[in-house]
């Protein structure tokens, strides 16, 4: 049995955007005032100047943006971040990216292999799919060989045209 690929949060991204663009973050857009929200806002428009009466429709966000800032995590974050305390901590990189069309800054982990030395404020980056963590299924946890369990998928950023 193969591991199930499950988004860490449902509805925030797709691996198969409707415009054929592959992996994309998903937001919502208010039809009355054009405000865009990420994480998606499905209940009400949060723009105080919105005339009202609009509907919030799902919209894929810009595939690219520019680095607003970045950092890394040299110490293991507390729960609910999932990590195995038996495995030495591997720092990960966080990137805040200003998306081109929406003019919003989205925070995400960098793709594997992208460290702070590979980044600069203003650099162009693209969003890609990635794996946040994997959880073994019950068969595997009990010692039986196999590959059951869950692969938690997420979004990641990486410099356009290189660095992996």
């Amino acid at each position: 049995m193969a591991r199930t690929r499950t988004p860490v949060v449902s509805g925030w991204f797709t691996e198969d955007a409707p415009d054929g663009g592959g992996f994309r973050l998903l937001g919502t857009r208010c039809s009355a005032c054009t405000a865009v929200f990420f994480p998606r806002e499905d209940t009400y428009c949060r723009n105080p100047h919105c005339p009202g009466g609009g509907e919030l429709a799902e919209v894929p966000l810009s595939p690219r943006g520019r680095v607003w800032s970045y950092t890394d995590g040299r110490y293991r974050p507390p729960a609910p971040y999932v990590s195995d305390p038996a495995v030495p901590w591997e720092p990960y990189t966080l990137v805040a990216v200003e998306l081109e069309a929406e003019g919003m800054v989205v925070l995400g982990q960098a793709a594997p292999g992208v460290g702070v030395a590979d980044l600069a404020v203003g650099m162009e980056v693209e969003v890609v799919g990635g794996v946040l963590n994997e959880e073994a299924g019950t068969a595997e946890a009990s010692g039986a060989p196999g590959a059951s369990g869950t692969v938690w998928t997420t979004w990641q950023f990486r410099p356009v045209g290189g660095a992996e």
Binding site: C30, W68, V105
Partner: protein
């Protein structure tokens, strides 16, 4: 502009890792503030508690918890929570009661017993909670956000890690002189540079620790103070409590994204600058009138940003101010004369109250070796999760 209220008493429990209940710290701070005011607890007509959310059930009902610990006496009671701005909102609630004529004497108390290490969200699976989500999905701790601001300052304004370290050196030098501070020793720039990186570019000594601690104030109407023979008390002239404007374009705790700036053009100025602006407008004074300021130095780099946000200098000029020594004790406009969170650490519901304790002692001229000569006016500034921003202006 609104009417003044008087600060008759200020008190603290020393900060540190004492391993006791927040109730004990709050009670000790309250009794110290009452003694300072020369008032018995039974003279207090209203108690306002700033809530802690990590100390079990009584933490959520802090006002009554402190009232019980001091001995039930029938006072009006209020409990408030606004994350890191809880203490300022408790002061705001007390002031509103005094100005509305609901009470003449109000005791404000905040205390916490903070866990070691990173702050983390409350337990359980709560995918609707932004604070839970940023840990689960990104592993983004508070220092990660501080580091994002620090890195951006380096890119935009040319700040260096050495500039950041100077803030720690300065605040440690002030904290050394404060008997309530947790850390009371000098720190050198070399020691900051030698400490471990937590979130690049910030190191351990750039980031404030978590602590236990308590702080309390006795606030009264001006009439009550005069009737007690206190003709010229320290006065609270403004308490701002503001939310951001839409669209918020600076990534803030605990959010994963900012608002889009496409549907509505962002207004001038940052959320943080609007916190101080509202307080200045209410107080009828400006940054040029200040003798000192207490700001939330959650990280060294963030303190430089506050200089700009409270109007001590222009945007991007914060590092220049610390390099010149303007914000050190003895400088033109000392900031964090108490030693700041760098010397105290975070005891969330207490820290905004502790800032006003420091203003009180400075404006009375009783701050000892860290006294700002002739202090006449001061501002505090703080910011809490989920869009809470508060500032207090006190004058003499």
């Amino acid at each position: 502009m609104s009417a003044d209220i008087a600060v008759l008493g200020a008190g603290m429990h020393p900060w540190g890792k004492w391993g006791r209940s927040f109730v004990e710290y709050g009670r000790a701070a309250a009794r110290s503030a009452l003694a300072d005011a020369g008032l018995d607890w039974t003279a207090v007509q209203s108690i306002v508690g700033a809530n802690t959310v990590r100390s079990g059930y009584p933490g959520y009902v802090a006002g009554a918890t402190f009232a019980r610990a001091l001995g039930w006496q029938g006072a009006r009671v209020t409990s408030v929570y606004a994350a890191c701005a809880s203490g300022a909102q408790a002061i705001g609630a007390a002031r509103a009661q005094i100005l509305a004529g609901l009470a003449d004497v109000v005791l404000v108390v905040g205390a916490d017993a903070a866990p070691k290490g990173f702050f983390a969200p409350a337990g359980g699976d709560r995918p609707d909670d932004p604070d839970w989500l940023r840990f689960r999905v990104l592993g983004a701790t508070n220092p990660a956000y501080f580091a994002l601001y620090a890195r951006r300052r380096m890119a935009l304004h040319g700040d260096t890690p050495e500039d950041f370290a100077q803030v720690k050196v300065k605040n440690a030098a002030a904290g050394l002189l404060n008997p309530y501070a947790r850390y009371r020793k000098q720190v050198t720039a070399e020691e900051v540079a030698a400490s471990a990186v937590v979130a690049d570019p910030l190191r351990l000594l750039d980031i404030c620790a978590t602590s236990d601690g308590g702080a309390a104030l006795v606030l009264t109407s001006m009439e009550f103070a005069r009737a007690r023979g206190v003709a010229d008390p320290v006065r609270i002239r403004a308490v701002s409590t503001v939310t951001p404007g839409y669209p918020r374009t600076v990534l803030d705790l605990p959010d994963i994204a900012t608002d889009s700036a496409r549907a509505v053009a962002p207004s001038a100025g940052s959320f943080r600058s609007s916190i101080a602006r509202a307080a200045y407008e209410e107080a009828g004074l400006g940054p040029e009138d200040l003798s000192l300021a207490e700001v939330y130095d959650l990280s060294t780099a963030l303190e430089l940003e506050w200089y700009e946000d409270i109007g001590l200098c222009g945007e991007g000029e914060g590092a220049k101010l610390v390099r010149e020594g303007a914000t050190a004790l003895g400088g033109r406009i000392p900031v964090n004369t108490s030693g700041g969170l760098a010397s105290f650490g975070e005891a969330v519901p207490a820290q905004a109250i502790a800032q006003v304790c420091e203003l009180t002692w400075q404006l009375r001229g009783t701050a000892g070796e860290r006294q700002v000569p002739g202090a006449r006016a001061g501002i505090t500034a703080n910011q809490g999760l989920f869009g809470h921003g508060s500032a207090v202006v006190a004058v003499r």
